[in-house]
């Protein structure tokens, strides 16, 4: 994974709460066995509406998505963050995220940025009002900055370190190989096996 530092760019305002992963990428597009190529199907159904915000040319080239609360609810499909990343987003800002979606984002280096509801609203309004508004997501300093807004966001120490260093999660766990083997030796023999 590439290390993440500062993400700066314009943003798309998706002013809806509870956006589920079935909307981010509908199930009929989950049949690919490749890791790439999901971007064209991002918000596939909603994009058929010419008034949908992703079809608004004023928001072309944005690298940040701003959304309502509980973004990414529902299915565990990692295809949802893959599609967002493939489309060109590097960060999603929302008042809250569904747990599995947030985990999946952290795994691939798409940054989920949880800010206070008032700040998310202020950013949403700023971008709705002026699509050229530039937003800075500063991961090393855990900060989000935009005209008239400067605040910090929470991210646990371990994930922060892993993302800023661009480290492979599996490699990190395998540093504990000995401990894994020791644990395995203590498992009762009656536990189920295939």
């Amino acid at each position: 994974m590439e290390p993440i530092a500062v993400i700066e760019g314009t943003a798309v305002p998706l002013d809806r709460s509870d956006v589920d992963t079935d909307q981010i990428i509908p199930a009929q597009h989950l049949k690919r066995i490749e890791r790439s190529g999901f971007g064209p199907f991002l918000f596939d159904e909603w994009r058929k509406d010419p008034d949908f915000v992703l079809n608004d040319p004023r928001y072309e080239g944005a690298s940040i998505l701003i959304a309502g609360a509980n973004f990414g609810s529902g299915s565990s499909r990692e295809h949802a963050p893959w599609a967002l990343e493939d489309y060109g987003f590097k960060a999603v800002i929302a008042p809250s995220f569904a747990d599995i979606f947030r985990n999946n984002c952290f795994k691939i280096g798409l940054l989920p940025v949880e800010v206070r509801a008032e700040s998310a609203r202020a950013l949403m309004d700023a971008v709705l009002d002026d699509p050229t508004t530039r937003i800075v997501v500063d991961l090393p300093n855990r900060a989000v900055r935009a005209p008239g807004l400067d605040e910090t966001f929470d991210i646990d120490e371990f994930t922060h370190w892993r993302l800023t260093e661009g480290l492979d999660d599996i490699g990190l766990s395998l540093r504990n190989e000995e401990k894994i083997s020791r644990f395995e030796a203590t498992r009762p023999g009656w536990m189920p096996t295939a």
């Binding site: 909307q23 199930a27 049949k31 609810s73 599996i170 644990f183 009656w190």
Partner: protein, 472 residues
């Protein structure tokens, strides 16, 4: 977390910590990794690219469920076929046990785990599927993961996990007639909202939960994710042990006794503290029907479709207005006046033998209303075989239901079983998201009892409204 007394979730968690260090997530050991064809191909591919192997193939169990047709073959969708073939090839290459399409043992991953006895109390169970919470019904800590995490578990048999909060949902009292497990969980989600459980492992407790069968407990734990929870659990008890005993992968003899000794230590300590508590009066629950496009947007069947102004928060009003437009519903319409085109009885929420028995009992000797499409999709080949042994297939067929093969089917419409644009379903599945069952399709989530009664009535209703069956 409380260090002296512990909840069920904390006990299972603590017993699986492989590595713990300040400022790091705990590294948890995974006892069982369930795999299906949709969320695994990229994980296996990445293992190959990195020259890694599956650490414990014997703790990994794969099946095909999301894509599979529920009619006799062949698989007509080439891309679906490619995904199924990929799983077959990956299972062979990495030595993973696979229950392929049509084989004995195949079925929805959350149905086959419990029925073969792979799912046992106190285990950690993961799967690249959000409804993995189902297995929590046995007092296992079970949760859905993404494909990167699938790869992580394949390679290491562990997963780094940040501490979870705990939530007790206590359902006390006696359920009224005609109200079941599905109504309990729809009622809970209606109350806590789709994000109410975020960050929490829910433990369902109370006399109404204790009185449920394992099938009912699975229905409840299954939909924990619909309330945003990381997992849902029920403490194991004699009902649990009776279900597990004798199953193919359950311990036997002295091992069984050793397992019981271990499992009996799992329930939350009497004075264990939870981070959040919710109490539900079972006696006041009624059958629920969803009217919107998320599982919290529901009312009881006695009520009418609400308008956006019924909600205090602006975001909820916006969501309601959008949902009403998508669902083509007018506020004030009694739920009983809504007429679906399709009845879907199936999914990892409600496709077990008990669900099929209950629905068959309601439609026995009756007919599906004219113009309605009705289908039953058993959760597994084993459920299908059992139902056929009991003659339930004939009951359904004679009533006008289509009797299908096992799979996820219309729950998410990855196979040919889908709603057409504008079609409306009464569905025993778990999600009513826009387009979930097919582009433009409109889903109403209900219990198997309401689905069966609705099939006969041609509008949403309950079994007590059905005219008596004439005995010939």
């Amino acid at each position: 977390m409380n260090t002296v007394t512990k909840t069920l979730a904390e006990k299972v968690w603590e017993r699986h910590v492989v590595h713990r260090a300040d400022g790091e997530p705990d590294l948890l050991y995974v006892d069982l990794h369930l795999v299906h064809e949709v969320t695994s191909p990229q994980a296996f591919e990445s293992l190959r690219l990195h020259g890694r192997t599956v650490r414990r193939p014997e703790l990994t169990v794969a099946t095909m469920d999301h894509n599979v047709p529920t009619t006799d073959g062949p698989v007509t969708d080439e891309i679906s076929a490619r995904q199924m073939q990929a799983l077959q090839a990956n299972a062979e290459e990495f030595g993973v046990t696979l229950y392929p399409w049509g084989a004995a043992g195949q079925g929805i991953v959350h149905v086959i785990g419990p029925e073969m006895g792979y799912t046992q109390p106190g285990m950690t169970i993961v799967c690249g599927d959000s409804h993995t919470s189902t297995h929590g019904a046995f007092g296992a800590l079970a949760f859905g993961i993404g494909t990167s995490e699938v790869e992580h578990v394949l390679a290491t048999q562990t997963l780094p996990q940040h501490a979870a909060k705990t939530m007790a949902v206590t359902v006390d009292g006696e359920l009224p007639d005609g109200v079941g497990a599905k109504d309990i969980i729809l009622g809970i989600i209606n109350r806590i909202g789709t994000g109410g459980g975020v960050g929490h492992v829910i433990e369902y407790r109370g006399s109404a939960i204790r009185a449920l069968s394992m099938e009912g407990r699975m229905t409840i734990c299954n939909m924990s994710i619909e309330g945003g929870a990381r997992a849902g659990m029920v403490a194991p008890d004699d009902t649990t042990f009776a279900y597990v005993e004798g199953r193919a992968h359950a311990p036997t003899g002295a091992d069984w006794e050793a397992a019981l000794d271990e499992w009996r230590t799992l329930p939350s300590d009497p004075d264990a503290m939870f981070d959040a508590e919710v109490e539900v009066d079972a006696a006041r629950l009624k059958p629920y029907v969803s009217w919107g496009t998320n599982p919290a947007q529901s009312v009881t069947i006695e009520e009418a479709v609400p308008g956006p102004d019924a909600f205090d928060e602006a975001s909820k009003r916006d969501a309601a207005a959008r949902a009403l437009a998508y669902m083509d519903l007018t506020p004030g319409t009694p739920i009983r006046d809504i007429r679906p085109d399709t009845i879907f009885l199936g999914s990892c929420t409600n496709s077990r033998i008990e669900d099929l028995r209950l629905a068959a009992g309601i439609v026995r000797g009756r007919r599906v209303a004219s113009g309605l499409r009705a289908m039953v999709v058993p959760g597994s080949v084993a459920v299908k075989v059992q139902a056929e042994r009991e003659g339930l297939d004939r009951v359904f067929s004679e009533a006008g239901f289509d009797w299908r093969g096992a799979g996820c089917s219309m729950c998410l419409g990855m196979n040919p079983d889908i709603l057409g644009p504008g079609e409306r379903s009464a569905s025993t599945s778990n999600r009513n998201f826009e387009g979930r069952q097919g582009k433009g399709g409109r889903t109403h989530l209900v219990s198997p009892a309401v689905a069966a009664a609705t099939a006969v009535l041609g509008r949403f209703g309950t079994p007590d409204e059905l005219p008596a069956v004439e005995v010939v």
